[in-house]
């Protein structure tokens, strides 16, 4: 087919009006859908901790704040990466770096203040073997929903877009997992929550080029 024929064909069969897509809204909807599924899965398997009591504890909000900051970082990155021609944007990266730095400082502070024989317990808690895995597992529905949404958009940097989708899914998943997890030490959070979210971003970067090609 000649190029001029292709243009004529495209114009003849499909010149319907389209309204410009707002990626932010679509991605947020996908994220919300994934969170609902993850929340249901968590409630049905591990169950939630007594939230009324947890809501009075500062560590509960520390974990939620850290996880959601990472999710916001992922969403801001992804919103731009979902369309051709936009740079990832510094604001998102600054939010992510600041959240990690704040969390690391709290962890260092708590770790140094603790007696030496108690320090290991602060970093490992009771559940370090499971924590990161569970965050990755709970991220799956959100990641799937995000990929589905992204396929209707037009990401051109697939590994980066996949990583941002992974980070967003991981951040939301960590926030959901915080409704079950009773670990209260900052060192535990900065180690195992970060590992879980980083693993999500890494897997996303690997899967992005395969799943998002168009």
């Amino acid at each position: 087919m000649k190029t001029s024929e292709l243009i004529a064909l495209m114009t003849a069969v499909d010149s319907s009006p389209v309204s410009p897509i707002s990626p932010g809204r679509r991605l947020a909807m996908a994220g919300l859908l994934g969170v609902i599924v993850a929340l249901a899965a968590l409630a049905l398997t591990l169950g939630l901790q007594p939230l009324a009591a947890a809501a009075h504890a500062s560590w509960f909000w520390m974990k939620a704040g850290y996880s959601l900051s990472m999710a916001v970082c992922g969403l801001l990155l992804l919103r731009r990466l979902a369309r051709p021609g936009a740079a990832p944007g510094w604001a998102a990266i600054i939010i992510g770096v600041l959240a990690l730095a704040a969390m690391a400082m709290m962890a260092a502070h708590a770790s140094m203040r603790a007696p030496a024989d108690h320090r290991g317990a602060l970093w490992l808690g009771q559940t370090w073997r499971m924590c990161s895995w569970r965050i990755v597992l709970l991220a799956i529905p959100t990641f799937a929903a995000l990929i589905f949404a992204l396929r209707r958009l037009a990401p051109t940097r697939l590994a980066l877009a996949g990583a941002a989708a992974g980070l967003l899914a991981g951040g939301l998943s960590a926030a959901v997992y915080g409704l079950y997890c009773r670990e209260s030490a900052a060192p535990f959070v900065v180690a195992w929550y970060s590992l879980g979210m980083a693993a999500c971003a890494f897997v996303g970067a690997l899967l992005g080029p395969r799943l998002l090609r168009w």
Binding site: K2, I7, L9, M10, T11, V13, S15, P17, P20, G85
Partner: protein, 169 residues
């Protein structure tokens, strides 16, 4: 592009024709000596620009958007060609054949492409494109509502785009 998003067919045709020239230059500089590949890529990028036109944000500049798509298609092409070069020797004839620009230009025979569509979509596409019926007439001939016909044609376009992309694999 903004007029195209609003459904102005004339503007769409002019825009795509203008872009085809620019894209030919863009790919031509980067794929010197492979004219058939250049034209394939021009068509692929035009299809992509057309299918993804809703992802253009009218508040932003158009050039970076279109250029990013062209760049994406070029990288995708290199990746595919890289993979193709590791194929067994049996495919070598095919590989060499693609250096012929004439063949590259006619490889995507429209009839053959249409032939792969389901009967209903094919009839609609043929009515609208080949015999010049309006969308309303074509819908009436197929016994569908205009909206259903538009949806069917949209699906057919998507499918054609996929076929074109798969052919290059």
């Amino acid at each position: 592009m903004i007029a195209t998003q609003a459904g102005d067919a004339g503007a769409q045709s002019r825009l795509l024709t203008l872009l085809a020239g620019h894209l030919r230059g863009y790919f031509g500089r980067r794929l010197a000596g492979r004219p058939a590949d250049v034209e394939d890529l021009v068509q692929e990028a035009l299809l992509a620009i057309h299918m993804k036109r809703a992802t253009f944000d009218p508040r932003l500049a158009f050039t970076p958007w279109a250029l990013a798509i062209a760049r994406y298609k070029l990288i995708d092409h290199f990746r595919r060609r890289g993979a193709r070069l590791t194929l067994p020797l049996d495919d070598a004839g095919e590989l060499l054949a693609e250096d012929n620009p004439e063949e590259g230009a006619v490889r995507r025979d429209i009839a053959a492409l249409l032939g792969r569509l389901p009967a209903r979509q094919r009839a609609l596409m043929a009515d609208v494109k080949l015999t010049g019926h309006s969308m309303e007439e074509a819908a009436a001939r197929a016994g569908m509502s205009v909206t259903a016909a538009k949806v069917a044609i949209h699906r057919a376009m998507k499918r054609l785009m996929k076929e074109v992309a798969d052919e290059d694999l």
